[in-house]
Symmetry: D3
Subunit: 137 residues, 6 copies
């Protein structure tokens, strides 16, 4: 078994806010991330798949296909969007790095033929990232 990882980038706006809380409580917990005009990031996504190397192609997964799946399922939906306002899974879920990793896992699960989705890593900044290995992990 071998693991293959491909990166993709998207630029998006977001903010952190819990509707159940007062403005003061949101600011106390989320600090400057609670600014409701939003701010943004250049996110980097790393998707890892696991499988056997196909002896005919030398591939775990067809790279062009993997790129198309990431583009269609994630990048075309998140890139140049405001996550809180325009991406449905964040209508009632705060788009933290952790929650974005889980959401991308759910978008990709079952979509990659002949290989197992192993890990979704999301960098919000070069010095902060979240890893998700799936619901049962």
């Amino acid at each position: 078994m071998i693991l293959l990882t491909r990166k993709a980038d998207f630029s998006a706006a977001h903010f952190y806010w819990n509707d159940q809380w007062s403005d003061e409580e949101n600011f106390r917990v989320f600090g400057k991330c609670s600014n409701r005009q939003g701010h943004g990031h250049n996110y980097t996504l790393e998707v890892t798949v696991a499988g056997e190397v196909d002896p005919v192609t030398g591939f775990v997964v067809d790279l062009k296909l993997l790129k198309e799946i990431l583009e269609r399922e994630v990048v075309s939906v998140y890139d140049h969007r405001h996550l809180n306002y325009e991406v449905p899974e964040f209508a009632h879920t705060i788009p933290t790095t952790e929650n974005i990793a889980v959401a991308i896992w759910r978008r990709l699960a079952g979509k990659i033929p002949h290989a197992k989705l192993q890990r979704v890593r999301v960098y919000e900044m070069p010095d902060l990232f979240a890893d998700f290995y799936g619901e049962g992990a």
Copy 2:
């Protein structure tokens, strides 16, 4: 004469829009950057100053002071903000990478003691940046 460059980071939301134009024209020129909900970036700012090395300190400029100036004049104003809605110079100017570089130059000009502001470089993404050398350059 020697040049000293210091980097700083800020994360902000923005979009490109010309009020004189129709929605269609904005989309035609600015593409997905015209989405008015905004998207965002991790911007990197590089500020270069020029001067003589002070023989007593070995510095062109006091680094702690330079860091404070960048923080006070730029980062505290731009970081975790929506540039179009919350930063005054972009109320009527589109926050392109070029215009952000010019705006930061104007914020810093004349503020750095004992050294000449030489260049402001702004990276919107790792593969796109603008350089401004001042009004008369």
Copy 3:
């Protein structure tokens, strides 16, 4: 369960030396790292914590708190210090990348509320790093 990783930097001096050995033996084993005047590095620390995402905040761990813990427990002690002479755990232990990773683990273990310390990674240079997963791992 999800993993969250945060980076921090510190700049420190060190050298490699075993007091039980002759100068020649130290030089034979440690090469130029045995120079007792010391040399130094920009170290990068990556701390990974594991836990459930809090549905109220979307966080595995409060990021501001995590940053404060890394600053208080590690960066304020190691940064701009000579590890051999000024950091107590290296008085009788050689500050190799491996030993620094173990020492940072011990400084952080039990200090991060609501999450499990999963991994400490230390880069001495961009092309050399050590990972420690804890005493029983």
Copy 4:
């Protein structure tokens, strides 16, 4: 137990081609990678070894020795070479990132004294890499 990872670089040419297929089939599956003149990459290799920290040296593995092994077993054979034409393991195996990772594992297995080979990671580009953990993994 602790893990130590060291990087090394090599620049090589390669192309993807299956002799059992027609030119059209090769182009359909491998796209521009099927150009038989070859193209090339700056590959980055990350080799991870696992072991106990030697209390006398503070090392899992002697770093100078590890560097020599990587140089002798891999870099001197792959660097500035055309993988398809000049490296024997790719005479009949397509040099995909996956297959290169497996081949490097086989070149290194059993060659590193006092430590266990844990993982071989090969970057073909900064946004694409393969990980191999050994035949039984």
Copy 5:
């Protein structure tokens, strides 16, 4: 006046060889780069243009157009190619980093509307790059 720089990547094979010389002389001067099977690199191209910021768009140059020009004039010709055998300007000119920078300048000169081509930078490796400012510079 402001400068805008955009990066692009291409992966290509090449080797260094002077037909006027013996094999020994080629190896003496070019070392392992003289291997005629070729080796390869992930090249990074940085193209800098200079101009006034258009007050209507905030752009020095239309970014989508600039990207298309780089793709059409350079990347589509060089990427996944063997420079010596497949790119006409290197049929009789050695594809050193210096000569690649000059060749890309000539491909781009006069092709970028409303802005002046200012600099072409080519990275062969992260630690080696050439800059060309044009024939008269």
Copy 6:
């Protein structure tokens, strides 16, 4: 004319101290950099040379020779050294990034055949660097 830039790395210890000042004054001006045990950095050096491309070799400068010169004149003297105590030019000059850039210029000036030394850039950290263009610049 074309410019060629090559990078090299060295790891060294240093501190900032002016013997004419009291301990308090040194701490006031230099902060944690004034710790006389020293701290350290992974420095990156970028050396740029300018010249005509030799039509026979395609080189501005012989790369193997340039690498040897950087190794002999700079890296072998600075790497794994304590700059204040072991490098003669810093016996009475504070090893700030600015002064290191000037010192490296003086070590290299006149040593590179067939090309003009154009710029010496020294990174102390990824976010701080100094550029020196020579005494008369």
